[in-house]
């Protein structure tokens, strides 16, 4: 008898996991692709040669890339600030500062997930009032500029990198860094040789999530973007238009293209991560 035979518990667990995964993910994805294939290759051609749709696709990919780069930088920084950058032990007045900093960190830590919890249409409304024609900040970006799209995507994708990097930083043993320091490594060397290799997979994981999420964002853009063809219209809005026109073949084709883009990005990010990890 094979030693690795599944016992009843694991068999059941695997069954439930695969069943659930199939019902929720595999079946719908397969249905989209089957539907798109039903329209034939000509539907894909039609969708891609339509200037309005092509521009929407390019704009969405461009904005998602920008927002992902932004998240990699800012998200990692926020995670670092949340976990690491505590003021040095001091006395007197600085003590109070340290206490205050602690409170702020707890607050930020709590608030950072709000973009997940807030219905995106509400996010769109709030961002419109802050960055729209009545902006109290004097930033009249929405709804006619592409900056508004960037703001919306940045808002909904902020937590991804922060939340993937944060636990890794927390687990990272300070002893290793101290050992490196005692052996004469500078701060930069420690960052490059010890911290970065450890958090890199997390950064890349967060980046692919944030890219995929940006690609598909719809709710907040409904109000925040002007949806002007060629300029501020995103793929999700085009998709919605196809569905409203009962053109499900084009909708499925565009959705499939979007899936392929997302998949390609995930693969590229994964390959990049392995490369960087190897040559770190």
């Amino acid at each position: 008898m094979s030693a690795r035979r599944l016992n009843r518990g694991t068999g059941l667990g695997l069954g439930i996991a695969m069943g659930w995964f199939s019902l929720l993910v595999l079946l719908p994805l397969a249905a989209i692709i089957v539907k798109a294939a039903g329209g034939g290759l000509s539907t894909f051609g039609q969708v891609l040669t339509q200037g309005e749709t092509r521009d929407a696709l390019l704009l969405t990919v461009k904005m998602s890339v920008l927002v992902t780069l932004l998240n990699v930088a800012v998200g990692t920084l926020i995670a670092w600030e949340l976990v690491r950058d505590r003021p040095a032990k001091t006395q007197g007045a600085a003590r109070a500062g340290e206490w205050l900093w602690g409170r702020v960190r707890v607050a930020v830590d709590l608030v950072i997930d709000i973009p997940f919890a807030l219905p995106t249409i509400v996010a769109g409304l709030v961002l419109l009032s802050l960055y729209g024609p009545h902006s109290p900040l004097g930033l009249h970006w929405a709804p006619t500029t592409q900056k508004a799209i960037l703001v919306a995507m940045a808002f909904v994708t902020l937590p991804f990198v922060v939340r993937t990097v944060q636990p890794v930083l927390e687990e990272l043993d300070a002893d290793v860094e101290e050992a490196a320091a005692s052996l004469g490594a500078g701060r930069l060397t420690i960052l490059r040789r010890i911290v970065l290799p450890a958090v890199l997979p997390a950064i890349f994981a967060g980046a692919s999530l944030s890219f995929a999420r940006g690609l598909s964002e719809y709710g907040s853009l409904v109000l925040l973007s002007a949806n002007s063809p060629h300029r501020t219209e995103t793929v999700s809005v085009r998709l919605f238009a196809f569905i409203e026109q009962s053109n499900t073949a084009s909708a499925a084709a565009l959705a499939t293209i979007l899936l392929v883009v997302a998949l390609a990005a995930i693969v590229v990010l994964d390959v990049m991560q392995r490369r960087v990890a190897r040559h770190g």
Partner: protein
């Protein structure tokens, strides 16, 4: 083993409950639930209409349940199997699609109102006090005027707006070519194409644009709920006609409800939320809060165009102006690059 039995029992109960729900909405009983699927703006008016209907002899014992959303979305929901005894949609083509799928009788429009339940007209929503003094369709073409109108691609009801504009410019210039030239300028002035009428109103209220193309009833309802915007009835406009039909399997009471909605009593309730009464239905003196003049809420429109008289009906208009690749207005919109 015991847990399996419990699960089986629960499943059985669930199936029975579902079957129970299914049977209550069909069949010719004298009580039950009617499901009405409608486009969003109807919700407020329908609540009152349903309550009033439940008090009539035909509606006694019935509970009317409404589900609301964008017209195209609700159409697809019904096509996808959402239970519906009556569909009240924004555009006739949406009901025609239900008829095409066999869910509504092909003769749905063969009645005194041609299958229409509610009427309205296209108006200009303007920022409080009308700072840009927008009164006519020509004012919309001035350089620098910012127009907000929902996207006809994603919101079927936005087609009313664009056709109203097209019709007005065709009347002024006297030719289709003149109308197209003006529509080009018009589209160049559109600053945002929200996905639905409601989103357009929200964007406008938040300061986007100088003029909002909207439906008179939508603006009046927005003002009734305290939103701050004014509106102007232009001297040329398009009559908005929203269709309604019962589904094939609906109990007879659904047809009674439809008749009630078109009756004086039903129309009066729709008028109170800003719809214009159906032609030939005299609702008498109704005060409409939110209208520019609540005691005389619906000024006559000097040149009121209709989809049948001026655009050859929806089948023709849809193909000619809004076809996804060759529609005149679709192409003008796609060609606009600011």
């Amino acid at each position: 083993m015991k847990s399996i039995k419990v699960t089986a029992a629960l499943v059985a109960v669930g199936v029975l409950a579902l079957a129970g729900c299914g049977s209550s909405s069909s069949g010719a009983s004298s009580s039950g639930t009617l499901n009405v699927v409608g486009f969003s703006v109807l919700e407020q008016a329908n609540q009152k209409v349903f309550q009033a209907f439940e008090k009539t002899s035909a509606g006694k014992g019935w509970k009317i349940q409404g589900a609301y959303g964008a017209s195209g979305t609700e159409r697809d929901a019904v096509l996808g199997g959402q239970p519906a005894d009556e569909a009240q949609l924004s555009l006739a083509p949406d009901v025609a699609k239900l008829a095409g799928a066999g869910q509504v009788a092909a003769t749905w429009a063969d009645n005194a109102t041609h299958g229409i339940c509610t009427d309205s007209v296209v108006v200009f929503g303007v920022q409080p006090g009308n700072p840009k003094s927008i009164e006519t369709w020509d004012d919309l073409l001035e350089p620098g005027v910012k127009i907000v109108t929902p996207d006809p691609g994603s919101s079927g009801s936005a087609k009313w707006n664009l056709l109203a504009a097209y019709g007005a410019y065709r009347q002024e210039t006297g030719s289709a070519a003149g109308a197209e030239a003006d529509m080009k300028k018009f589209i160049a002035n559109v600053v945002t194409w929200p996905s639905s009428g409601r989103d357009a109103t929200t964007a406008f209220e938040n300061g986007t644009g100088d003029v909002l193309l909207s439906y008179e009833n939508e603006v009046i309802l927005a003002r009734q709920s305290g939103q701050k915007l004014d509106y102007v009835d232009p001297s040329t406009s398009l009559l908005i006609e929203n269709p309604c039909a019962v589904t094939k399997d609906a109990p007879k009471t659904a047809a009674d409800l439809l008749d009630f909605q078109k009756s004086v009593e039903g129309q009066k309730l729709y008028v109170e939320t800003g719809f214009r009464p159906l032609p030939g239905v005299d609702v008498g003196q109704v005060t409409v809060t939110g209208a520019n003049d609540p005691s005389s809420p619906f000024p006559a429109i000097a040149h009121l165009q209709t989809i049948d008289k001026d655009f050859g009906g929806w089948d023709l208009a849809d193909a000619k102006y809004f076809d996804e690749t060759n529609g005149i207005l679709t192409k003008l919109k796609a060609a606009d690059s600011k």
